[in-house]
């Protein structure tokens, strides 16, 4: 087992390098460079000063040297200082935002699993039933609804018309005056809409996936055997079929990490939630290049870790993987 994990970790190294190369290239496609951004706006700049600043940032060196220097900083988690007015180290800004984003995504992943798996199993077991057709329509809707529009609709319905739920932020204005229990309720109320919105798209995909896995497994010989033995349908479905259909879901979980993290830009912006997605959006609007680069790299590394976690859980759940992989 530990050998397998070690192997996976070693395989991550070239991918990590690739991530940094692509991120670096993204930075390099920009017309001009960070220095010109600062110097262009400063009337006191002369040729000599610009040269000095460029040398200070290493921009007078060949590209591969710049990359290596940048890579070294990345590895030490030194993303430089934000261009925003607070001028703080990028890593601090990101670290204070990450927990919110990860918490939201984990909750919505759990929600997706809890709802989508039963739906998928049900519609596979009762293929072509009314329930199955109903969920198929729901799935197509789920794939097609733009999340930010769904967010707007829910805000209109529950926030503006019914006034049941707050439509932005994580806390009410009077948060400081609330008791502990009321605080929990307050945050929970703020989280309902964002979590629902972020889970909605994944819900469709996951239930579809679970359904097709289940349909595939039900046709396998061992399921027929189980039925032929005279086991009752419940045992066949839940003991023999369900467990095997569940396995590939682990992989899909890993694969859905980038989508969730990317999607957090949208719903954190719409609902004004101070997470990494919102920080990214603000940085893009302000052209805060160091922060953009930092979040881009960290987002990719988080995805990589998500995939690794999925691979490891898969190998824990399915011994066949360990032997052949």
């Amino acid at each position: 087992m530990s050998k397998y994990i070690l192997k996976r970790l070693i395989l991550m190294i070239p991918v990590l390098l690739g991530i940094t190369i692509i991120s670096f290239s993204v930075m390099k496609v920009a017309p001009g460079d960070p220095v010109s951004l600062v110097t262009d706006l400063n009337p006191n700049m002369n040729e000599e000063a610009i040269k000095r600043i460029r040398a200070h940032y290493g921009l007078d060196q060949p590209v591969y040297m710049q990359y290596l220097k940048w890579l070294r900083n990345m590895l030490m988690l030194d993303f430089g200082r934000s261009f925003a007015s607070d001028n703080r180290p990028v890593i601090d800004k990101i670290l204070e935002r990450i927990p919110i984003t990860i918490m939201l995504n984990v909750i919505s992943l759990l929600l997706i699993l809890m709802v989508a798996i039963p739906i998928g199993v049900m519609s596979a077991v009762k293929q072509n039933s009314l329930f199955d057709r109903g969920t198929t329509v729901f799935v197509f809707l789920g794939f097609a609804v733009p999340t930010f529009w769904l967010a707007l609709l829910l805000m209109i319905l529950f926030g503006v018309k019914l006034e049941w739920l707050p439509i932005s932020g994580l806390r009410s204005l009077n948060y400081a005056n609330l008791g502990t229990f009321e605080r929990v309720i307050d945050i929970a109320k703020h989280l309902i809409l964002p979590i629902f919105v972020s889970a909605f798209g994944g819900l469709a995909g996951m239930s579809r996936y679970m359904r097709s896995n289940m349909l595939e497994v039900i046709r396998q010989d061992y399921v027929t055997t189980a039925r032929a033995k005279g086991l009752d349908e419940r045992t066949v479905i839940f003991k023999h079929a369900f467990r095997n259909a569940l396995l590939p879901v682990v992989t899909l979980l890993g694969l859905s990490v980038p989508g969730l993290i990317g999607g957090s830009v949208i719903f954190e912006t719409v609902f004004a939630i101070p997470g990494m997605g919102q920080l990214f959006y603000q940085s893009v609007m302000m052209r805060d290049y160091p922060t953009i680069m930092g979040i881009l790299v960290i987002g990719a590394v988080l995805t990589l870790l998500g995939n690794l976690l999925a691979d490891i859980s898969y190998s824990v759940a399915d011994p066949r993987i360990r032997v052949s992989g």
Partner: protein
């Protein structure tokens, strides 16, 4: 081949979802092409006497904060969505087919490098990558098309590679190889035409995805810039007036939903009709 196509046509016609999708897609094309004749008003006609009017006989879907007709803007916005969708998918399909063909046909280190590249690209939350590039190159409709295209070719590459791997071993390809046909001839004449089915399906579904991404970008204010109408940036204005004008938020989103659903239904329909075995 004719009977194959006949089979395909018959299955397509019998597939109700596919026909709905086809109808939506064709209708959208007509709307985009004939926008000038269909729209009741010019999309940018400002009418200060009719600001934020709810849906009525004069303005079927209401008016916005500048008194512009929402329906007319939606009709004109369809052109933006479709062109972004098609150009972006054109770019990603081209990249995907070329890389996938190279990877599947030559194998070896070419394959390893390209596949590693795919793995790396898949690690980036694509929306992050798109936003980052747009932040550096600036928002414009052309930049969006290109950026969506160059960040969404990975799926097609894997598909085409897999097709090449299996078709390469088939007898007719082996026969062509043994007759001394050149690589280019085998790739373009013998293998590629037989590998296009999944590519067509992926491209149709890709248009839907690109329309969604474009509208998200425009919604965030880094896509199509106002005053040019796009469904996404209409929704931004909708959000700003969410407490007083629900129609500004509801209808442009509905347009996105119908478009995306149309392409998804068509794509899935083509897949089911071309290869009934895939249907589950």
């Amino acid at each position: 081949m004719t009977t194959l196509m006949g089979d395909f046509g018959r299955r397509m016609r019998k597939n109700r979802m596919a026909m709905v999708g086809l109808f939506v897609v064709v209708a959208l094309f007509c709307v985009a092409i004939f926008a000038k004749y269909l729209a009741p008003y010019p999309p940018d006609r400002i009418d200060t006497s009719r600001i934020l009017m709810p849906p009525s006989k004069e303005n079927l879907l209401g008016t916005d904060i500048l008194g512009r007709d929402v329906l007319s803007r939606i009709i004109y916005g369809s052109g933006v969505s479709l062109s972004v969708g098609f150009v972006a998918v054109g770019i990603s399909t081209l990249i995907g087919v070329v890389l996938g063909a190279l990877s599947g046909y030559y194998g070896g280190w070419v394959d390893r490098i390209i596949m590693r590249f795919v793995d790396v690209m898949l690690c980036f939350p694509s929306f992050f990558l798109i936003l980052a590039v747009i932040a550096f190159v600036g928002p414009s409709i052309w930049n969006i098309m290109i950026v969506i295209g160059v960040t969404s070719w990975m799926g097609v590459t894997r598909l085409v590679r897999a097709e090449f791997l299996s078709i390469k071993e088939r007898d007719f390809v082996q026969a062509a190889i043994s007759q001394g046909a050149g690589d280019a001839r085998i790739i373009f004449l013998h293998i590629l035409p037989n590998a296009m089915t999944p590519v067509l399906v992926a491209a149709t579904l890709g248009v839907a995805a690109a329309v969604l991404v474009e509208s998200s970008l425009s919604f965030l204010g880094i896509g199509v810039q106002p005053p040019d109408p796009s469904w996404g940036n209409m929704l931004t204005e909708g959000k700003d007036n969410i407490e007083i004008a629900w129609w500004m938020s509801v209808f442009p989103g509905l347009a996105i939903l119908i478009t995306v659903m149309g392409y998804n239904l068509l794509g899935e329909g083509i897949r089911d009709s071309l290869d009934p075995r895939l249907k589950i």
